[in-house]
Amino acid sequence: MRVGSYEVKLEKKVRVSGLEATIISLLAIVIGLALVGLVFLEAGVNPLNGYKAIFSYAFLNPFGLPLTINRSVFILLCTCAFIIPMKAGLWNIGMAGQLYGGALGAFGVALAFGAKGSQTPTASPGMIIPLMILGAVVGGALIGAIPGFLKGRFNTNEIVVTMMLNSIGYWLIAFMIKEGGPFMGGGGEGQGFKLSESVFAPMAWGGTFTIPIALAVAALLYFMFAKTTLGYQIKAFGLSPSAAKYAGISSQNVPLLVFILGGLIAGLAGYHYFAAVPGLYKIPTNYGDFGDLSFYGIICGLISQGNPLAAIPFAMLFGGLTNGGRFVQGQLQLGYGIDYALLGVLMITLVAFQFFYRNTVVWKKIERES
């Protein structure tokens, strides 16, 4: 293509360095923000003030920051749940259903020990809390095992199965917490029961202990894919199923395993938000919103190219923006949905800029032809 007296060409890139990827992503974010700035202008708000309000609430405000962190941790766990099957070339669109499964598992354990409302639990918190976490990961893993098993055994499309299970999980929770359901809360508000204070998740360094756990999960996954034979087998299967089969890697077990692991981590995300985030400690009426929030895990996983450590800043960004965006909507009296618009545009620019992960633009001055 010619632009003025320059020839513009695209060249394929062999590899992209971490620094390049960071610069490309930052550029994408800046351009995305600039585009949404036009919406701010249209609404009569100076975009700089708008963004200042969003970011200062999300990352500096003493009320906003903990909310941002809790959302980001949730998104990070969902990202990890997406990444594991992604490395095996499979699509986990079912983090929502799996985290519902995790919530049911955790609250089921709590209920079994009578850790409900103002009741005194029948066992010590030191036993109930670990069992609740176990219940959460088993619940998530069970929901995850279904698409994994079907994929490995019958080559069923995992996208369809996980999507369906999202609906099943959603209505399963609705059934459990409705009036008369086993998990119903008091007062007919259509929400689940509140946990006994003694089984609230413990805090660590001023935040819930699930924050360091989520970071550890990301680090562990990074290690798994970089160093272990298990991670190697998953990657090999994802890149070339026929070569993996040749090397003796089971085409039945890998899908099952990655979905169990993914579901397990999504279950942990369910535990984190419903049983560990301060101020909640129950399955709320709007639990469906968290299912929706889990989908940011997909975009986060794609942008970070399956690198769980690179996903951390993106999870922070999305967590902060969902939080700050909603806040300024009220504060600056912007139209409804500005937070969704912001995130939507950012996702598009981030994904569009991935083009530059694979291509370099080369400018060359054209010699004057006689």
Partner: protein, 515 residues
């Protein structure tokens, strides 16, 4: 204008000082080269010599860093293959670029300027049928491409470029996928084309007999440079081979005599289905001993692939029994077989034998990730695997910048060396080698064959599946010609007559049963 009539012997395409650099390698180093009308010009070279790069430049697929191209004396610059096509250059790639679900006619029309409007199908069909008659292609234009044999698909690709008006035809390894009779037919058609002043055919290959048999002129490339430019009439098999690899190639391998030991692989009444659900193996029984090479000779598609997959544990048999070292492994997984000392060299290097996006270390790991010596507690010993890979690169003389290079950047011969190195380094007791030298140049072929003989010397039992009868005869102790999923006999090479084996490959049962 370049598109003017030419006379036989005119220079129609000329390249001057073509240079193309890729990161870490000069693929083409100041190549001068010309093609004349009515001539077959062969480009000969080892894998990685720069043949394909040069052809891609002449077809406009990639742009050279330096150098000029002249078509009929006019300087031209190709920005894309479209520019080349407009000047009458057509290319037939090594890998088919046809749509299997469409008919031959539709495939030929696809991309043709006429297909933009509503084509007059009857007229185009007549025109294409005319081309078929002229060049001796016998193809049903209404047939779907998936129903065609490899040779017929090749013909469709050639017809497609001719119908677009190509007068300079570039064929990249045109015979590599063809059975011998199909090769003959193709060469016959090419001869007719050159008789026609319009068609001129440079020919890229590393098969010496074909070069000698058909071409008028040869340009030999080695490591990106032209090492020889001569008339074929002045060349001999040995002189060309020397220019190509820079040394004398031994064509006859010394037969390695090893005392045969106990049976390693025992197969009894083995039957299996192919992907289409047809019976492709029909009750085969055989034994391979320690220090023995059993060669399976046959024309492509007679059940060899299915046999290799069943033995490697990648396909379930319908009937029969397989045992290694006397242990029944019929139901064992592929992984268990690897652990029992099986080593499988698959025919599809790119999709089965390697993972292109992975580094060489990770590719070596394909046969080592399950080995306790290279991991502990599930964590790969990266230093040890890296050292192993570096050792294999050195020992097998694999041309690669380093162990972190991706496998897809290796040329075909080097990729095969990597696979061979990885499999043989496990010191397998049983080696299944499926088409181990297919598509390789003379030097790499010789290398692979010597490595197999070396493994034989180390008392491995080797099952060699090959479509190259010379290879089977020079390496094997016994030969089993396979035809439509059945062995036509098992012959000891010492007292085999090549006509007999050829006849068995064509479906004649062995006359006298051997003990």
């Amino acid at each position: 204008m370049p598109n003017q009539p030419v006379k036989r012997g005119d220079t129609v395409l000329e390249a001057r000082g073509i240079t193309k650099r890729f990161p870490g390698v000069v693929a083409n180093d100041h190549i001068d080269f010309e093609i004349r009308a009515g001539e077959i010009h062969a480009i000969l070279g080892e894998n990685g010599a720069g043949k394909t790069t040069l052809m891609k430049i002449l077809f406009g697929l990639i742009q050279p860093d330096e150098g000029e191209i002249y078509v009929q004396g006019e300087k031209v610059a190709f920005h894309s293959p479209l520019d080349a096509i407009h000047l009458g250059i057509g290319m037939v790639h090594q890998n088919r670029k046809l749509i299997p679900a469409h008919t031959v006619l539709e495939n030929i029309l696809l991309g043709h300027p006429k297909a933009g409007s509503i084509p007059d199908l009857r007229r185009t069909r007549d025109e294409i049928a005319g081309l078929c008659d002229r060049y001796g292609f016998k193809i049903d234009l209404k047939a779907k491409v998936w129903q065609l044999s490899e040779g017929e698909k090749q013909a469709v690709e050639i017809l497609k470029t001719l119908y677009r008006g190509a007068r300079i035809l570039i064929l990249d390894e045109p015979t590599s996928a063809l059975a011998p009779p199909e090769t003959e037919k193709l060469l016959e058609s090419i001869r007719i084309m050159t008789g026609d002043d319009l068609a001129l055919v440079p020919f890229i290959t590393h098969k010496l007999p074909i070069v000698l048999g058909i071409s008028d002129r040869v340009t030999v490339l080695r490591r990106g440079r032209v090492t020889a430019r001569l008339r074929t009439a002045e060349a001999t098999e040995n002189s060309l081979a020397r220019e190509m690899v820079g040394r004398e190639v031994i064509f006859r391998l010394a037969h390695v005599d090893v005392k045969q030991g106990k049976p390693i692989l025992e197969v009894d009444d083995l039957s299996a289905l192919n992907d289409k659900g047809q019976l492709a193996l029909r009750g085969i029984s055989f034994t391979v001993h320690e220090g023995e090479i059993l060669g399976i000779a046959g024309v492509s598609g007679n059940g060899q692939q299915v046999l290799a997959e069943v033995l490697a544990g990648l396909r379930k048999p319908v009937t029969g029994r397989i045992s290694i070292d006397g242990v029944d492994i019929t139901r064992s997984s592929s992984l268990e077989r690897w652990k029992r000392g099986m080593g499988y060299i698959p025919s599809d290097r790119m999709n089965v034998g390697s993972i292109g996006a992975h580094s060489l270390v990770e590719n070596v790991l394909m046969n080592y990730y399950f080995d306790g010596a290279y991991s502990s507690w599930g964590v790969v010993d990266s230093q040890k695997t890296r050292k192993l890979t570096e050792g294999l690169i050195a020992e097998y003389d694999i041309a690669a910048p380093g162990p972190e290079t991706t496998a897809k950047s290796l040329s075909g011969g080097n990729l095969q060396k990597l696979i061979l190195a990885r499999v043989l380094s496990r010191e397998p007791r049983l080696i299944i080698a499926n088409l181990p030298t297919q598509g390789l140049d003379v030097g790499a072929t010789e290398f692979v064959q010597n490595k197999l003989l070396e493994a034989k010397r180390q008392h491995a039992a080797i099952l060699l599946i090959s479509e190259d009868l010379d290879e089977v005869l020079s390496l094997s102790d016994r030969v089993a010609p396979i035809y439509e999923g059945e062995f036509m006999g098992v012959v000891s090479v010492k007292d085999a007559r090549i006509e007999d084996i050829g006849a068995m490959m064509a479906g004649m049962k062995q006359k006298v049963a051997q003990p």
